[in-house]
Amino acid sequence: METRSYEKYFRQNRLPHLWCPGCGNGIAMKAIVQAIEHKEGWTQDNTIIVSGIGCSSRASGYMDFDTLHTAHGRAIPFATGIKMANPELNVVVITGDGDCTAIGGNHFIHGCRRNVDLTVILFNNNIYGMTGGQASPMTPLGKKATTAPYGSIDRPFDACKLAEAAGATYVARSTAFHVQHLVKMIEDGMDCKGFSFIEAMVQCPTAYGRRNKIGEPAKMMAWMRDNAVMKNAWDKLPDDKKTAEKFPIGLFYKAETETYDSAYHRIQEMAGVTA
C-alpha cells in the first residue's frame, strides 16, 4: 500500500492517539490535516495549531506542525497573539464545546468581533468529555450529564449563530459522519480571510453517548446521518418538519471585512511604527 499522504502531518511516534474507541475526535483531526493538505502554500512550517484544554484539544499533540497546547478556554487569545506578532502565519485553533463556549466564551465572541484572521474548529461533542461528562453550554435540553442527572434544563448555545452574531466572517457546520463535507467546510474556512468558525459535530461515546443511552459510536454517527439537513434543504423545510433532533449543516454565513491584523498594521503606519 502507498502510505496515505496525510500521514506526514501526524507525529507518528504519538499514535495511536489516546481517545476512546469510536471517539469522533480522530475523524475531525484527520479532516483538518486533509484540509491543510489541499491548501496551496500551507506548510508544516508556516501553519500553527493552537488548542485549549479538553479531549478535543489533545489533537495539537498529534499534529506535526508548530503546535501550542494552551490553557482551558484560552486558545483564541494565544492564537490572536501569534497572528498579531506574525500575520504571515496560518493559525488554526482546535477547541471543545466547553473550552470555546463556557470558560472561553468571552474570548470566543471577542475574537469574532475583532475579526482576527484565524480558522477555529470546534469539536462539539455536547459535553465536557475529559472531566467525565459534566453538562456544557452546548448540551441539548433534556440530555443527561453528571451535573444534570435528570436532564439538562439550561438552554444550549447554537455556536454558529453565536459566532455570526458576534462578527465572525465565515460560519459553517458539519459532522464526523459527513467526512468529505467536513473537509470542504474547513478548507473553505481556511480560504477566508478573517475569523472563520467551523463547528464539527463529533461523537463522545464514553461521557455522553453511554449516559444518554444512545448506543455505540456507529449509532451516534448514524444519528448524525439521519438528522443533519444540508443548508439548502433546511431553508426550504417547513417549520413543523424542523423537529428538535434535526439540525442544519453547511455554510451559514460569509462576509468580507477588514481583519484585525490589517487594521493594526494601519494603526502602526499612522503611528510611524515600522514592524
Binding site: 500500500m1 502507498e2 496515505r4 500521514e7 501526524f10 499514535l15 495511536p16 492517539h17 481517545w19 476512546c20 474507541p21 469510536g22 471517539c23 469522533g24 475526535n25 480522530g26 475523524i27 484527520k30 464526523a176 459522519f177 467526512v179 468529505q180 461515546p205 455505540e216 459510536p217 456507529a218 449509532k219 454517527m221 448514524a222
Partner: protein
C-alpha cells in the same frame, strides 16, 4: 477480488464504525477486539471504512486490472 486491505492493527480499537458502515458486510470484530476482513471477496472498494475510521487503522486500495 477488487481490493487490497492494509490493516494497522496496533491502531485499531475495535470501535465497530467500519463494520457498521460497510455496505457489503465485509468486516467483523474478532474475539480480541480488532477488525478482521471476514469476506474480502464481497468488498467493492468503496472506501467507506477507511473514510470514517477514527484511528486510521484500515486502508483499502482498488486493485488495478493488471494486478488481478
Amino acid at each position: 477480488m477488487k481490493s487490497e486491505f492494509t490493516l494497522k492493527l496496533e491502531r485499531c480499537k475495535g470501535c465497530g464504525i467500519c463494520v457498521a458502515f460497510c455496505p457489503k458486510k465485509v468486516l467483523e470484530i474478532d474475539t480480541l477486539g480488532k477488525v478482521v476482513v471476514a469476506r474480502p471477496e464481497d468488498c467493492i472498494a468503496c472506501g467507506q471504512c477507511e473514510l470514517r475510521c477514527p484511528d486510521y487503522a484500515i486502508f483499502v486500495d482498488k486493485l488495478k486490472e493488471a494486478a488481478k
